[in-house]
Symmetry: C2
Subunit: 205 residues, 2 copies
DNA sequence: GTCTATAATCAGATAGAC
DNA sequence: GTCTATCTGATTATAGAC
């Protein structure tokens, strides 16, 4: 029994997590597409292909549903940060993060953050997994920001917190979707354009 | 009669427009605070101090209500552009526009634009006054952008449309409210910080 | 045009059978 | 856990008196 029980448990758990993974993926996409308020639980259920009541067996509320998606993205970010080459310069790390964030948004996998007053905002503030992830990511980025400023590659006159927020803002930059709608540039070209405006600014050098 | 009728008309019209102005001001504020989806018509009515049914006598739907607020802001922008000193350099004009946009947002008077798929978005696309205003503003800014690039003050490698969108994006930049929430900087300091990141970029010079 | 009262609809959440 | 059917409340919009 000690040899079979773990297998049974694992299988059940796998099925459960696969289902929840599919749910989170749908929520992620819809959240990126329409935002929290405009997304309806009915849509999510239809997109996943299960009944609405079944959704509520997995997640007790719409806020928890969205929070789970946000936590999922936060974990992806943490994974991405850990996978970065350790020998790269702090500035290259920051640039890589900005690129990654924007490609996620262009791919429609970046849920739009509730910068405005929102029910989701309070839910996220109370979500330990999300806040812990946010803290770890901020710490990591903060260290790179200070290191890059010490090296003189990043403008030392900018407060690190302003740089951090500027990088976070790439996750909800409307310029990306505006340029995408124009259909004049490929996704990678759009990213390079916005990378330029972000790091080099609009002014000539 | 030819001397009194205009006065009577004008008075009536003034009262009507004053009332509608108050409505639009409330909508503007609530739209900036919570966004279109989260704002309810009941809130607007309560904020203005009139009955909800009266609102619907002025504006036939929630979309029209919000569109009127957007048109109002667009007119303010047009007025601001026209009031700019004609002898200033194109680059100074663009910088002045960015500053104005951000101060409006910090003052809570910039309704959050529906960059995402939204009912409001389609309503605005179908709104002639809004689209006309948007076109005129874009033309004016576009001319300055090209002139500044010709002078070499604005990076000539950036497509003008990317610069235009980057300036528009200052109207919904979450960095402003993030920094404001931190309460470490005054509004004018926040604006200068974001002006720096926008025009000079994050890199050192 | 403004009001009170109400209609009509939609969306978040739940009951209860299987 | 999943389903169908339903409840409940919130929200957009309107009727009709004044």
């Amino acid at each position: 029994m000690a040899s079979t029980a773990p297998t049974k448990m694992s299988f059940k758990t796998q099925m459960l997590e696969a289902r929840e993974g599919a749910i989170i993926q749908s929520v992620n996409r819809l959240l990126a597409e329409k935002g929290f308020e405009a997304m309806t639980v009915d849509e999510v259920a239809a997109d996943v292909g299960i009944a609405k009541a079944s959704l509520y067996k997995h997640f007790p509320s719409k806020e928890d549903l969205a929070a789970a998606a946000m936590v999922s993205v936060m974990r992806r970010a943490q994974g991405f940060l850990k996978g970065l080459p350790v020998n790269a310069s702090p500035m290259d790390q920051l640039r890589a993060v900005a690129r990654w964030t924007m490609s996620l948004k262009l791919a429609g996998e970046m849920p739009s953050l509730p910068s405005q007053n929102s029910r989701l905002r309070s839910a996220l503030m109370a979500n330990k997994a999300y806040m812990d992830g946010l803290m770890e990511v901020s710490d990591r980025l903060g260290a790179w920001i200070e290191a890059a400023q010490a090296q003189g590659t990043l403008n030392p006159k900018l407060p690190p917190i302003a740089v951090l927020y500027t990088l976070y803002a790439r996750a909800c930059d409307p310029v990306l979707e505006f340029l995408k709608m124009g259909a004049l540039y490929r996704d990678d070209e759009i990213i390079e354009l916005v990378m330029d405006t972000c790091f080099q600014g609009l002014n000539s050098r």
